[in-house]
Amino acid sequence: MTYLTIDHVSRHFAPHLTLGEKIAARLGADVETRAVQAVTDVSVTVPRGRTLGLVGESGCGKSTLGRVISGILPPSTGTVLLDGKPVMTGGNKTTTRVQMVFQDPFASLDPRMKVGEAVAEGPVAHGLTTRAKARDYVAGWFARVGLDPALADRYPHQFSGGQRQRIAIARALAMQPDLLICDEPVASLDVSIQAQIINLFLDLRRDLGLTCVFISHDLSVVRHVCDRMAVMYLGRIVEEGATETVFNDPAHPYTRSLLASVPELVLDADDLVQFVPIEGEVPSPHAPPPGCHFNPRCPFAKDICRTEKPPLKPLTADRFAACHFAEEILAGAAT
């Protein structure tokens, strides 16, 4: 049963030019006046209770897409539906069913608000609890994320990174969402703390039956927590499918090179781990290459890749890739 539907969502950012920049541009200075196409025509669905991983390098649009889904940014075109109802109408968020956990818990908590107040604020404003009962309500959520409820009267700076991320999770969950967007929730945490937060996430997801979108550049984390994953490159989804399938047998050349770039711990090798880096760098999102955006770095690129944009097409019943030669690559026949 589909819970989240992302329907042909695009989001671009027009450059906000100051008066000076406009004049400079008129006089022929090198001012970027083109819009950035951060997310281009993304369609994907997530069934209730499942977790979709959004994977890609910086600038691929995964964070922008996360902000569009959670109703922080309106999409330029397309819609995001929860259970058939739009997240935003007329540029305003009209639901509390989707909440978000941000990457940096040092930035996502208001430094001048007591953490208990920060957790209570949304639920009180939306009538999930009353001001009188807010203390107990917050205490319940604090206990739920493994924090001592007595700490509710402290300020964010009095907590460590891991504790802050627990508070941020409590704040999102106190709104009783069905869908939780996690934008790199463990990326800024220490390794030994990451495992604690991932375990907490797994517990809460199971106990509360949450549907999740998990944004991360860390492939091992995505592999661990996501049922399905979508790989993004320059604003588009280039491959989507069940996590294990994509990891074991990537169909898109970008996915293949991305997986090959990740240094992995290999415990039974005496020699150092070998990996094959992708050639070149991600092109500017102001002027993505024509045709398939990945063609300048792709080892399999042919003429058609330089002119024609490959659509995201099904390879099997629930596996999609945007590559002209996906079938050949899967069959090992691509050159």
Partner: protein, 289 residues
């Protein structure tokens, strides 16, 4: 430890700033309780005697008490006049600073949050005004509005709100981009709530710094206007007017009429500025260890 307690313990470590703060508090207390501690009500024209005019410090006049700092050309006890003058200066400084802070912060935060045309309109006007000397603007306004406390405060506000607007705009613009504002919008919380509960509190540190400096500036601006005869009516002598009154006698040896009010003014303004500098240093993360 609350943020305030932490702030105070850091503030205390700077001895000079601490002394300056004590001076400011002392001056404010003296001004508040002036009617109780001064020997004379300098506004009460009937209590003045021209016989006592321009007497040196220590002179015992018709009132039967010593004029510790001497008397002014109207025969006022200078100590009393200075304390009452401080009272007016501080009142005007606080009132003008407060109103300018409110108006300026509101405009600046609105511009930063709304963006687009509203932002351009507000900030262009502010920039235009900042390119104009505040004293000139205040002079023109006082000349147009006439004399009186209200008019003077109005002129000072008009001359100074732009500094607050600029500061609030800069702070709000950078705070707006931070995740906690996005988190509040993702909840979602109403725009009013996001601005009042999240954006405004986080914009206050730089505003407090500007406020201290601007209160000092208001006081000296008021003194300047009064010195030029454009400030308050002669019946309510402020520090600027006292200095002005004594000016003709400076060269004839009766220095005290101008010099003592001048010293009082300088002490107050310097002390406020030292306190303001310390607050600024404490808010500046780059100077932190």
């Amino acid at each position: 430890m609350t943020p305030l307690a932490r702030f105070w313990s850091e503030f205390r470590e700077n001895r000079i700033a601490l002394v300056a703060l004590v001076v400011v508090v002392l001056v404010v207390l003296l001004a508040i309780f002036a009617p109780l501690i001064t020997p004379q009500d300098p506004y009460d024209m009937t209590g003045l005697s021209l016989m006592d005019a321009r007497r040196p410090p220590g002179f015992v006049g018709s009132g039967g008490y010593a004029h510790v700092l001497g008397t002014d050309p109207q025969g006022r006890d200078l100590l009393s006049a200075i304390l009452y003058g401080l009272r007016i200066s501080i009142q005007i400084g606080l009132a003008a600073g407060g109103v300018a802070l409110t108006i300026g912060a509101a405009l600046g935060i609105l511009a930063a949050y709304a963006g687009g045309r509203i932002e351009t309109l507000i900030m262009r006007i502010v920039d235009l005004q900042l390119s104009f000397p505040a004293i000139l603007l205040a002079l023109v306004l006082v000349a147009l509005l006439g004399q009186g406390k209200g008019q003077l405060i109005g002129a000072l506000v008009a001359a100074q709100y732009a500094y607050f607007a600029r500061t609030a705009y800069g702070a709000a613009k950078s705070e707006r981009r931070k995740d906690y504002i996005e988190a509040a919008r993702a909840t979602p919380l109403s725009t009013r709530r996001v601005i009042l509960r999240h954006l405004l509190p986080n914009c206050t540190p730089p505003l407090i710094v500007v406020a201290t400096v601007q209160i000092a500036n208001s006081i000296s601006l008021e003194a300047t206007l009064s010195f030029l005869g454009l400030g308050l009516p002669v019946t309510e002598p402020s520090l600027g007017m006292l200095i002005s009154n004594g000016f003709p006698y400076m060269m004839s040896g009766r220095y005290w009429i101008s010099v003592y009010p001048g010293i009082a003014l300088i002490i107050l303004i310097v002390a406020i500025n030292i306190v303001g500098d310390q607050i600024r240093d404490q808010f500046n993360p780059r100077l932190r260890k």
